[in-house]
């Protein structure tokens, strides 16, 4: 997914000379093709996220569209005031490409785990927050970013994820995608958790439980209408995210229902990272298991809400 995001920056840089890439001391060879063909618009800066966000704001004030890339925790926690003041108060078209949303960097420990990035980014006025489910969707998202006039936070999963998105569904920022229909229940998901939900829906189907999957790639601006409409026809809703349960997708769904359709609230159950920093290393999958984000917990939560065995 990361490779696709960066390949897209190169493609965009060929299409539009407003496109600029800014990295903070990334790995060797990153975007070499862009660096060779458009050296003036390729910036590999030092380990200095406060500066690079301000710098990107300055470039955007003069009409450029900077794509800024580094590890998600550094692009959110380290420079939160710069993101808030320089990008969001000025409402500038800067794109933050954040590597390693959720448990991707499991072996590296809690300093590198972006567990609350969605919550803190979506708290900022003017900021859009997007978490694609696979590389193909990343491609569609990235190619749609040129004309969005506001800042965008783009959350990346790990590389090599299974492709589950479909070209025919297209991509529109702020519009959720019905990936699977089901008459009994609904998983509402974002990022690569959409893949887990689709797998789990297959498992439930074998047991005669028909569950749909609504992929909310854009957590902000939130697709209130699409989410509410999808929830109305089912008896149970489980939100699934590789993010702390406080303030992420599940919270956005609860807020939306609370404001618009409070009668839907009892249907909802949330699955996400518990409210604590990770205490284990291992792999992304082992952390997900440790956090209780697995097919079996999804099945359990869905069945409980449907009134069956859990």
């Amino acid at each position: 997914m990361r490779k696709m995001a960066l390949d897209c920056v190169y493609k965009l840089s060929k299409l539009d000379d407003r496109v600029i890439f800014v990295g903070s001391d990334l790995g060797p060879g990153v975007l070499d093709k862009m660096k060779t063909e458009f050296p003036d618009r390729f910036f590999m800066e030092g380990v200095s996220e406060q500066y690079i966000v301000g710098m990107a704001a300055g470039l955007a004030m003069e009409g450029f569209i900077p794509y800024v890339n580094t590890i998600a925790t550094f692009l959110t926690r380290r420079c939160y005031e710069q993101v808030a003041v320089d990008l969001c108060i000025h409402d500038l078209p800067v794109r933050l490409i954040a590597n390693g949303g959720g448990g991707v960097y499991a072996p590296l420990g809690p300093t590198h785990l972006a567990i609350e990035d969605i919550a803190i980014m979506r708290a900022l006025p003017n900021m859009a927050v997007v978490a694609p489910c696979d590389a193909d969707e990343m491609n569609r998202l990235m190619m749609s970013t040129l004309e969005w006039p506001h800042p965008i936070y783009i959350r990346l999963g790990k590389g090599g994820d299974k492709i589950v998105s479909e070209e025919k569904n297209g991509f529109e920022l702020g519009k959720s995608i019905k990936m699977r229909t089901g008459i009994d229940g609904l998983f509402i998901t974002t990022g690569v958790m959409t893949q887990l939900a689709l797998e789990t829906a297959d498992i439930l189907k074998k047991d005669g439980v028909d569950v749909g999957v609504l992929h909310v790639h854009t957590i902000k601006p939130f697709d209130h209408a699409g989410v509410i409409a999808a929830m109305k026809d089912v008896r149970a809703v489980v939100t699934v995210e590789e993010h702390i349960v406080n303030g992420g997708l599940g919270s956005a769904v609860l807020e939306s229902c609370s404001e618009l359709n409070p009668e839907l609230l009892p249907k909802i159950s949330r699955i996400g990272i518990p409210d604590k920093f990770a205490t284990e290393y291992g792999s992304q999958n082992s952390l997900l298991k440790h956090w209780g984000i697995t097919s079996s917990t999804l099945v359990g939560a869905m069945m409980k809400k449907l009134g069956g065995a859990s």
Binding site: D40, R41, F43, E45, G46, S48, Q50, Y51, I52, V53, G54, M55, A56, A57, G58, L59, A60, M61, E62, G63, F64, E81, Q82, V85, D86, I89, H90
Partner: protein
């Protein structure tokens, strides 16, 4: 050094705004009146009728809390009416306690949170160079402000990119909110610090108009490095009760007597 009429007039405008708002950063504004006066009278290219003209020079007041002095010079140069200064900090005024881009004509960046002006200025300078523009970028920081590490990240980058179109100026009034900079966080040797970060750096008396004009005429100081000017100033300059007194960094709940006392200093 006695003020000439122009320095007195600009200070009077600052007091007009403080009277209207009943508050303001007096000390922080009065130390930079001459710096802004020379920039706007002799150095910067701008058109008050077209504040967004592409060929303008960009000035960023990074120490946004000094905005009273910026509002004074912008009003004086015709970006908005002088009479508007009295609306300072009122609910629907354009002139808030920190300057905002998009609200105040002539303000390039919303500042107030410290340590943002230099990084943004570096980005603008890079953009202008990419566009082959001859416009220049000036950033004025405070001295307490450069306690913030983001400034030093950006200074290193400005030198790396050899931004000859960027000038960073420091209003070095030696006082920050709590007290003397030498006690809170000593910046010395400041000139050497800037030099070691790759800036060709000069010092000047920040209240000496002709010295400021002379040094700024020499910009850029080098053909392949950014420029810095350390301006030695006095916080609250022109107001004996406020000069060097951290109590006057910011004042609120000002009375008519306070205001009159300030006008009297300029008589």
């Amino acid at each position: 050094m006695a003020f000439d009429d122009r320095s007195k007039l600009l200070r009077r405008y600052v007091i007009d705004a403080m009277r209207g708002g009943g508050r303001g950063h007096l000390g922080s504004s009065m130390s930079m009146v001459e710096i802004l006066r020379v920039l706007y009278d002799s150095v910067l290219k701008f058109d008050p009728q077209n504040p967004q003209a592409v060929d303008r020079d960009r000035f960023i007041l990074s120490k946004g809390h000094g905005c009273l002095a910026l509002y004074a010079i912008l009003a004086d140069r015709g970006f908005f009416p002088v009479s508007e200064l009295e609306s300072f900090c009122r609910p629907t005024s354009r002139l808030g306690g920190h300057p905002e881009r998009g609200k105040v004509p002539g303000v390039e960046a919303s500042t107030g949170a410290l340590g943002h002006g230099v990084p943004i200025g570096v980005g603008i300078a890079l953009a202008l160079r990419l566009q082959k523009s001859s416009s220049r970028v000036f950033v004025l920081t405070g001295d307490g402000e450069i306690n913030e590490g983001s400034n030093w990240e950006a200074l290193m980058a400005a030198a790396k990119h050899k931004l000859t179109n960027l000038t960073v100026m420091v209003d070095y009034n030696k006082l920050q909110s709590y007290g003397r900079t030498v006690d809170v966080l000593d910046l010395e040797p400041l000139v050497d610090k800037f030099k070691s970060f790759g800036f060709v750096t000069h010092e000047v008396d920040g209240h000496d108009v002709s010295a400021l004009e002379t040094i700024m005429e020499k910009l850029p100081f080098a053909e392949s490095a950014p420029s810095a000017i350390i301006c030695h100033t006095i916080k609250g300059k022109g107001f004996p009760f406020a000069e060097g007194n951290p109590e006057w960094h910011h004042k609120s709940g000002m009375t008519e007597a306070d205001i009159q006392q300030m006008y009297d200093c300029l008589a």
